[in-house]
Amino acid sequence: MYEHDVIVVGAGGAGLRAAIAAQEAGADVAMVTKLHPVRSHTGAAEGGINAALREADSWQDHAYDTMKGSDYLGDAPAIETLCKDSPYEVIQLEHWGMAFSREEDGRVSQRPFGGLSFPRTTYAGAETGHHLLHTLYEQVVKRGIEVYDEWHVLDLAVSDEERPEDRTCHGVVAYDVATGEISGFKARDGVILATGGPGQAFDHTTNAVSCTGDGQAMAYRAGVPLEDMEFIQFHPTTLPSTGVLISEGVRGEGGILYNAEGERFMFEHGYANNDGELASRDVVSRAELTEVNEGRGIEDEYVHLDMRHLGEERILDRLENILHLAEDFEGTDGIKEPMPVKPGQHYAMGGIETDENGETCITGLYAAGECACASVHGANRLGGNALPELIVLGKRAGYHAAGKEMEPAKIETGQRGEYETATIDSPVELGEGGTPGDAVADGGAVAAGGSADPDTLLEQAVAAERRRIEELLDKDEGIHHSEVRSKVQKTMTQNVNVFREQEGLKQALRDLRDARDEYQNVKVMDPSQTFNTDLLQTIETQNLLDLAEAITVGALARKEFRGAHWRAEAQERKDDEWLKHTMLSWNDGSPELWFRPVILEGENKTYEPKVRSY
């Protein structure tokens, strides 16, 4: 068994920043990550980092834009924390050497982005995430922080008191990809999940193959509620054949969207009369699909994003990476021709419920970055607000886990304070199904043993994971997990996409039930202990099943149109009824739905919901 004060799971932007902070606060910290840190998907972020750095700007304006962008479903204490801390964190990155794009006077450049009232998106070409990731990893190397890379975390070691709010997390169980060794990692002070989003639940996604929401699924099964999972961002400009992202920076710099008839539809069809292409992402994605659905798409599938008029020099200076992506993955020369684009799954606004210090309702368990929901983004994330979340909330989680004194959080977690319970209108049984106590079905969550001491708990968790893996490897007959995974991706992309309607959502739940049942028969074909990616992907597919179901349950429950969530049956925002977060608890395998009110009261003002137009 390995032992440290703080264990960080995942080594993208949030995980690296958390590890640095925890070490600064005096903790012995280790990172456990299924990929080497520089392979993390933070590296694919392109556009930039929103931060109110300039005198004409203010964190209050950034907060207002973010709240409006969230369609009034973000929690004010989380949003204000993000906007206040972001300038300091961006300058911290600059002090660590990050290669930001520069102005003539040598200061870091900023550009306009969708939904922003000031050009506050700080960037490094169109590869901001790459630079952020490498800069943070460099600091981890400098500090000698221990990294267990290519160690795949299988489960958390959490005590099993009846109420999740009474439970404690003592560590994780991980699998050494190179050797097949399964070991416990004891965390004396805390475990921080920084495992990214569940994009692989969809088949047209900008997300990496590794984005399987592992941390979300593990926290969910351990008792932490998932919050606002129905809010999935579909990015308006992804390449049709691969889902590769074309940065919002293209539109920020002046790129224009055209339909098949050569119309600048964002204006000409009235989708966003003021901001046009730079309206919020949900607005632009719906506009594109509406154009395609009404027959004005190109090849009935996509629209054109044109940046030719910006000129070669400006494109090479600020968007060079986009030229490479369009060329390599779509065979298009962005200097000479418009680029084909269509909406693709990009980001999960929801996730593991945390407060603004990254803490969950389980003692000693934290989450930060895309896997978490503080909630900063509410119903729709603004471009340029994901990277600041990584560094601001990552740092705070690191500090808190390491025991640094911090202002107590204003956001409550778990079933405490004000909340209401609800029932789920599902056509099929949800949750684990199968045989109770079956290690494959419940992801090994039966490990815990009451309030046993941490070492015993961890040993039990390790034993449960050994059983699960042996069972997966030893089965004689069975189907391959990729069949189950593609079934999940197919139904999610068909039924839980940009436009959602009740019957489609119910169909998705039926399909997911079938997929879950089929998963009972999965067999890992590769018998090896060495680098068994077949085994690990089979385990990831289980995580996707739980998360796809959570996304769909949320989407079915929320009968209104807010932010990224559009419902055919209710095409307007209903503030009287729905200014509340959708919460889903695992409840030992039978998911329970409940709601918690949104916090619109900020430090000095209350954000009044207004009509959201761009």
Partner: protein, 299 residues
Amino acid sequence: MSTHPPQQEQEPEESPTEQPPESVEETSPGKQKRETDKADRRIREAQREADEAAADDGPTRHIKVFRYDPEVESKQEPRFDDFHVPFEKGMTVLDALIYARDNYDPSLTFRHSCRQAICGSDAFFVNGDQCLGCKTQISELSEPVRIEPLPHQDVVKDLVVDMEHFYDEMKAVDPYFDPDETPAGDLEEQRQSRQNREKVKMSTRCIWCGACFSSCNIAAGDNQYLGPAALNKAYRFAMDEREGSERKQQRLETIEQEHGVWRCQTQFSCTNVCPKDIPLTEHIQELKREAVKNNLKFW
């Protein structure tokens, strides 16, 4: 599109090339239970069926993939397996591997993640060149497309190589920004000229894929040679005007050591294979010039 004789595309009987194990004498009991060869046989049957189906349906691409697993009996002896993958426009080497894995042989093992040439996981040796699988169009390669792990690194399994040595070399150049001082104010940035940012820009694009290191003859012969990626990393900081002169001096001493820049024989193999188009050889040459200038100072 295709540059190869069509008959090559349809030889299902050929795949997989040779076949092994009459005796299955597994040592550990766990492995015995797993009935390796049974699984192997099933996989082969699945492939043959799929091949035949594919041959009927449309064009396929023939890939030959290096296989090795130190603990699975049938794979202990390195070999090549043949797969015939249905071709689609835009298909990359990585797409072909994923297809072969998900449809023919789930034990086919390779690192990959982002699919967009930024995570640097999937550098392979394809038809004799280092490249990123996700960024290489299969239609541009002659058949059969031979896919091997990166040369000059230990093979862990199939296309997975041990990257530790590469990472160690990266760490040997103090790969982190280290200025003499940073501005006192928490919100005060260091100024950097556009020209200087431009100068280091290409060097900051490195994705640590290891293609350059694998292509370098010198690195192959001298296990302690820092190699192009690490030297490029040193360049990235040594040329950054925000670092102080003393630190630059230390950096130049690091890269000037016995296994540093002077080993480079400007063969340009690293520059030729770099998927991010970093002018690695030029950067190494410039470090050599800086080192010389710097030494002259003390004469």
